[in-house]
């Protein structure tokens, strides 16, 4: 624990690790259930990009877990600290807003990676997976986790009560992640919904991530990288600005 940043990162990781059954095991089980149900129904009926459905589904579920858990980590930690008041322990020490941001976002990425790795391990023997271009896997997991971690910081700071945070999660994060091509290729959608999907940044995160496994995807991974990169940059600037102004944290 060398400085404020590394301690805050350590504390945030320790926090979710201490309640691992809820923050790691539960989401892994949820993803496993999705896989069992959807692969039971669709395996043998559907192929996507020439890939068996179960194999296609697994990277989508892994990435969805990374994203949802990254969001859950920073948002729930912040709202709990705010509601219980122990956020002062972080606000009193000489921690800069940049350190604050990086610690919460990186802890979210770590949580996303741990859950994502758990899902990957749990689903591994259902279908043989390839790792065609593994660098893409890493890049999109990292950037996607950071984007959702950053959104979690925004939501956690903005929400005054748990139900406001739940609304943010249920009406924004859930639809964006579910309607992003986790369970299907958007090429199978009617043209209108294909267009709509192209406006969903989460689509590019999932699609780019999946590209790393199979080397094929709906969109070019470079386009996905550009979209995801711009999203990350915009959200980072926005969140840093909130923190710098002390929005809802330093009245």
């Amino acid at each position: 624990m060398g400085n404020g940043f590394s301690t805050l990162l350590y504390k945030e990781v320790l926090r979710f690790w201490k309640v691992g059954s809820q923050t790691v095991a539960a989401p892994v089980l949820t993803s496993l259930l999705y896989l069992l149900i959807f692969s039971h129904v669709l395996e043998g009926h559907v192929k996507v990009h020439g890939i068996a459905y179960t194999a296609f589904l697994i990277p989508g579920l892994v990435m969805m877990s990374v994203l949802q858990n990254a969001f859950a980590n920073s948002s729930s930690s912040l709202i709990q600290s705010k509601v219980t008041g122990n956020i002062v322990f972080v606000l009193l020490p000489p921690i800069s807003y940049l350190e604050f941001f990086l610690a919460y976002v990186l802890a979210s990425v770590v949580r996303g990676f741990v859950v994502g790795a758990g899902v990957l391990l749990a689903t591994f023997w259902f279908s043989p997976l390839t790792f065609a271009e593994p660098l893409w896997i890493l890049v999109f997991a990292l950037m996607g986790g950071a984007i959702l971690g950053s959104l979690g910081v925004i939501a956690g700071i903005w929400a005054d009560k748990f139900d406001q945070l739940a609304a943010f999660q249920n009406f924004l994060i859930m639809p964006l992640t579910f309607l992003s091509g986790v369970f299907y290729s958007i090429n199978s959608l009617p043209p209108f919904w294909q267009q709509v999907s192209h406006w969903n940044p989460v689509f590019y995160m999932i699609d780019g991530f999946r590209h790393g496994f199979f080397g094929v995807s709906d969109a070019s991974p470079w386009l996905s990288l550009a979209v995801v990169g711009v999203c990350l940059a915009v959200l980072t600037i926005f969140t840093l600005n909130l923190l710098k102004r002390g929005y809802k944290l330093r009245a």
């Binding site: 504390k11 926090r15 330093r250």
Partner: protein, 303 residues
């Protein structure tokens, strides 16, 4: 030598409420300073502004010469704050909480000092207990410990003894006094005025966001309060004595400034044929000072 705390023309509004209204205050290094005032007077807002939890609309604040905005890292390193609310992180044990708090200040390997704080606050046996398992009083002790992990030269305690039992109060004040004797500057807010009176060398009183009194405790007591001769008697009290006295619950109170006024007073009562059943002498007390200041009276009543 820079002041431990310097507050200059600080104002802060929350919507229409003027929480702080041009506060000027300076606390010198090594002082034991009391910040008193009724609920809503602005004490906690002032402390929050000092700690960087609240941003002042106008004016400047500094800790040991470091501005709390422009030089916030140094300012916060020099300041330890015990918040008023009983807050804790339910995920961690006492020791983990203290190690993490040390880390936030960039201090690793702080075990020796943490052990010393735990010992002094009677927390050693609870070091590995989860925060959730502690009683309210124990949680309060941990809050004090958390404020001290980085050995701040300036320590601010916002109502540290609210709802706390006698044992902890005594343990706490003994420890805080030792820290003060070792050179730490202490700023204290409390509603227990006898605590402030016995501990604080200097006192500021806040009302509606303004400093309405600021002086050494001794001078405040002298200016706003007097000694009182209290007695219970039967028989008729002389009319001219009754005028300067107050009566409640069968007790007469006669304010006086110098002790040689007591004897003639008693002689007059005896001469009037009054029999004294019980008698005591009350010292000037801060509660009276507080009430008079809050009512806007400037000096003790003339007898």
């Amino acid at each position: 030598m820079s002041a431990a705390i310097r507050i200059q023309q600080v104002s802060k509004c929350f919507g229409d409420v003027r929480a702080l209204d041009g506060v000027d205050l300076e606390v010198q290094q090594g002082e034991f300073f009391g910040l008193l005032g009724p609920n809503g007077a602005g004490k906690t807002t002032l402390i929050s502004a000092l700690a960087g939890l609240v941003r002042a609309d106008a004016g400047s604040l500094s800790v040991m010469g470091h501005d709390v905005q422009s030089d916030y890292r140094a300012a916060r390193r020099h300041l330890g704050v015990v918040p008023q609310e009983l807050v804790f992180d339910p995920f961690f044990t006492v020791r983990e909480s203290l190690k993490i708090q040390s880390g936030y200040f960039g201090i690793g390997g702080n075990d020796a000092w943490i052990d010393e704080i735990l010992e002094n606050l009677g927390l050693t046996s609870k070091a590995n207990a989860n925060m959730r398992m502690l009683s309210g009083g124990m949680k309060r002790r941990v809050l004090v410990a958390q404020a001290l992990v980085h050995r701040p030269p300036v320590i601010v305690l916002d109502e540290p003894t609210a709802g706390v039992d006698v044992e902890l109060r005594q343990t706490l004040w003994a420890f805080i006094r030792r820290l003060n004797e070792a050179g730490h500057t202490i700023v204290l807010t409390t509603h227990y005025l006898e605590e402030a009176e016995s501990l604080c060398g200097r006192i500021a009183m806040l009302q509606s966001g303004r400093v309405v009194a600021l002086d050494t405790t001794a001078r405040l007591l002298r200016r706003f309060s007097t000694h009182t001769l209290r007695l219970r008697s039967h028989g008729e009290m002389p009319v001219d004595l009754v005028r300067g006295a107050a009566q409640s619950g069968g007790w007469w109170s006669f304010p006086f400034d110098a002790f040689d006024e007591v004897e003639p007073l008693l002689a007059r009562i005896r001469a009037a044929g009054c029999r004294i059943d019980d008698l005591e002498i009350g010292k000037p007390d801060l509660e009276e000072v507080f009430i008079r200041v809050m009512q806007g009276q400037t000096e003790a009543p003339v007898n």
